[in-house]
Amino acid sequence: METTMNDCQKKIGYIVAGNLKDCLRVRLVVPTQEVQEGSFVVIRCNAWQFYGLITNLELGATDPRFADEQVGERFQPALSDLLQGQTLFTNLEVLPTLMLEIGPEPGSQAYKTWFENRNSASAQPIPVKTIPSHHAEVLLAGAGDVAEIFGEESKKGFFRIGSTREQGHPVCVDLAKLIQRSSGIFGATGTGKSFLARIILSGLIKAKLASLLIFDMHNEYGLDDQASDTHLSVPGLKGKFPTDVRIVGLGRSGTIRGQVADFNLEFGESDIQPEDIELLTRELNLKETTPATLDALVASFGRNGWFSTFKAMKPGNMIEDENGKRIPAPDSVEGWALENNVNTLAAASLHSKMNRLFHLTYLVDQPAANGLNEIIKSLEGGQNIVLSFGEHENDLDYLLVTNMLTRRIREKWVDLTNAHRSHPEKATEPRPLVIVLEEAHKLLNHEMAAQTTFNTIAREMRKYGVTLLVIDQRPSQIYDEVMSQLGTRICGWLGDDDDVHSVLAGLAGRDDLRGMLARLQPKEEVILLGWGVPMPLVIRSRRYDDIFWKELLGKTGSKADESRIMKELGFGL
C-alpha cells in the first residue's frame, strides 16, 4: 500500500549511529518531552522505509562540561538557548524491526518503472535486514504508516485493538493471523486483562474466524458483570452476541448468578480418566502411589468403569470369614486392593481423597444430556461457548473440567482434521477453535504442563486448528515450552522481573523491550509482541464501553441506552 496517508508525520531527528544487532541511534531535533519510549517511528532512506520502536532516550553533550554548567544562569536566555541547542542533545535508541521498499521519488520515470516491475512480496514490509544511512530522517509514524504495518480496520479480519499512545492512530491486529497460533494476554492484577480479553473475544466473535471455547472460571465473560474498581456494569458477551454465544452451566442445575444457562454440562463417570486424577495430584494431595493404584483400577474395571466402581466401593467395609476373622469385604476398597495386590493403605487413601470428586454434582453416572456433544456441535457450527463455572469456582473444578473437556475437544478436532485430510471432498476442514484459558499458570506450570492437554494443544494443535488464548498474571509460572509456542503476546504492566523475562522469551530485541514493559501505565497501556503482530508496539487499548460496542456492532448495545432512547421518543417510562 502506498504510504500516502502521511498526515501527522513529524520529523523528530536523524540517524547518527547504530548497527543491525543492537539499535539505531537518532539525534533528536525536537524537545525531549515530545517523544516517548515506545513510540513508533519511520526512517526514510533512499528507496526504503524502515520502521522501528523507540526503546531508549539518552541525554548527551558534546563536552560533559556543557552539561555540568548551568549556562542559563551565566548567559542571556537567547544565548543559553542557542548554546544548549547545539551542545546538549538527546539521542534516541530505535529498535528497527521492519523495512519496506518504497521505490524512487514518486512521479519520476524511475518510479514508474519500479512500480510496474515490483512483485507482491516486495510490496510488503519485511524484517529488517539492513540499516539506514547516516542522517536519514526519522519521523513519528503517521496514521498511514500505522495502517501500512498493522492493517486497516476496514479490511476483513483486521480488528482495532487500540491506538498509538502519542497521536492516537488506530492499531489493528490481524485476527486470522492471531488465531493461527496460541497467544497470551498478560498483565499484573488490576491492569485490565479481563477487559482486554473481552475486547479481543468480541472481535473474534464478530469476525467469525474461529469458534471460542471460553473457560469462564470467575463468571466474567458470559453474562453482564460489575467492574471491581468502578462498580460499573460490564456487558457480557452473551448479551451482545445473543445468537453467537451460548452460556453453558456446570452441573445439571448450574445457574450463574441466578441466571439459567443455555444448557448445562455434566460429565459421565465413565468420562473421567486416570490422567485426569493425576492432574489433581497437588490439589488432592495425592501420594506417589496414586498412579499405580489408578493403573490397577483401570486394569480391573476398564477405562470407562473404573471410576464408578471405585466410587461405589465401601472403604473399610469388613466381613467375617469362615474362621470368624474380620477381613475386608469384597466390595471394599481394601478387599479390592488385596485381591489386586495393591497396597491397601494407598488404595484407601486414594479413595478417601477422591471423595471430593465423588461428590461433584456435575460428575454423574449418567448425564441427563450430552452436554459435551452439544458443546462440540456448537463449536463446530460456529458458535462460541462460554463455560461458566457458576458456584464451582475452586481450582479443583477448574482443573478437572477444563482438562476433561479440552481432551475431548482435542480428540474430536484431530479426528475431524484427519478425516478432512484423508477425504477433503467428503469432510470439511474443521472450524478453527480458540480455547480461552484464564489462570493459565495453574494448568500450564512446569509441574503440570506435561500432564495436561493444554501443553499438547499449545505445542501441536495448531496443525489441527486448535489454539490457546491464555490470560494470566504470572507468565513466569507457565512452562517455558508453552510460552515459547505463544505467537502473539499482548502484555500490560508487569512488576515481576521473572514475568517480564518470561513474556519476552524468544523475542528479538527483548532487552530493549524489557524496560518498556516495566514502564507501561498500569491501565490501558499494553505492548503488542510476537508473531501475530508485525512489530512490537506500545498502544493504548480500546475501552470496553458503549462506544466500543457502538463501533463494533454499529448500534447502541446497552439496554440502558435503548430505554433512554425510547423515553426520548415518548415510549415507556
Binding site: 558534546t62 563536552d63 562540561r65 556543557f66 549556562v71 551565566r74 548567559f75 542571556q76 537567547a78 544565548l79 542557542l82 548554546l83 541547542g85 547545539q86 551542545t87
Partner: protein
C-alpha cells in the same frame, strides 16, 4: 544615496593573512576594534579584514616626558599632533571581493604599501558577512594569537546592527549558531566566546 567611503589609514605592511595600517592618533575615523575594513589590491580585487589590534606605540621621548609631573600644553599638543608616530592598526584578512563577488577565501595576493584602507559601510558589512556560510570565521578561530572572544563579540555586535538596518535581524542568531557548531568540541574556546558575547548589550 551613495555613501562616501571612510578612509581609516594607509597600508604599511602586509602578508596574505593580514596587514597593518597606519594613521595619525587624533584621526577622527580611527576604527574601533572588530571593525570590518577593506583595501583595494587591484582593479578587480579587494581584501577584507577585521581590526584585531590597535597599537599606540610609546617611545623614548614619551617615556622621558612622563617623568615630569606637569607638562606644558604645547608639549602635549606637539606629541598628539606632530610626532610622526602612527597608530598601527593590525588587521586579519578574512575574505575578498573579486569582480564584485564576495568570498571568504583569502585573496591570492597581498595589498601593497600605502594603499588606502577603508572602513566598510553597513551594506558592505551585510553583503560580506552574509555571503556563503560564515566561512570567514575559520580565519579568526584558527589564529591563536587573536583575542578571539572579544574580537568576535565586537564584530558580531557591529554586524548585528548593520544587518538590522538591512532587514535581516536573524543574522545574529545564525552567526552565533554557526560559532557554537564550530566550537562545540572546544569547551574553553567556546565559553571564551560566549562570555564575551554575553557582555554585549541586548537589543
Amino acid at each position: 544615496m551613495t555613501q562616501i567611503p571612510i578612509e581609516v589609514g594607509r597600508l604599511m605592511r602586509a602578508s596574505l593573512t593580514g596587514f597593518v595600517a597606519g594613521c595619525r592618533i587624533n584621526q577622527p575615523n580611527l576604527p574601533a576594534f572588530g571593525t570590518l575594513v577593506r583595501v583595494p589590491i587591484n582593479n578587480r580585487l579587494e581584501a577584507f579584514g577585521l581590526v584585531y589590534n590597535i597599537h599606540v606605540d610609546d617611545d623614548g621621548l614619551v617615556r622621558q616626558l612622563v617623568t615630569n609631573q606637569t607638562l606644558p600644553p604645547e608639549v602635549i599638543a606637539d606629541n598628539r599632533d606632530n610626532r610622526n608616530m602612527p597608530v598601527e592598526i593590525s588587521i586579519i584578512t578574512i575574505g575578498r571581493r573579486e569582480s564584485g563577488v564576495f568570498s571568504h577565501l583569502l585573496p591570492g595576493i597581498p595589498p601593497t604599501s600605502l594603499d588606502i584602507i577603508y572602513q566598510c559601510l553597513p551594506l558592505e558589512i551585510c553583503e560580506f558577512t552574509s555571503a556563503g556560510r560564515f566561512g570567514y570565521f575559520r580565519h579568526i578561530l584558527r589564529n591563536e594569537e587573536l583575542p578571539t572572544g572579544e574580537l568576535l563579540a565586537s564584530h558580531l555586535d557591529q554586524a548585528r546592527r548593520a544587518h538590522g538596518a538591512c532587514g535581516d535581524p536573524e543574522w545574529y542568531t545564525r552567526a552565533i549558531k554557526e560559532l557554537i557548531i564550530r566550537l562545540r568540541d572546544d569547551y574553553p574556546g567556546l565559553m571564551n566566546v560566549m562570555n564575551a558575547l554575553s557582555d554585549l548589550p541586548t537589543e
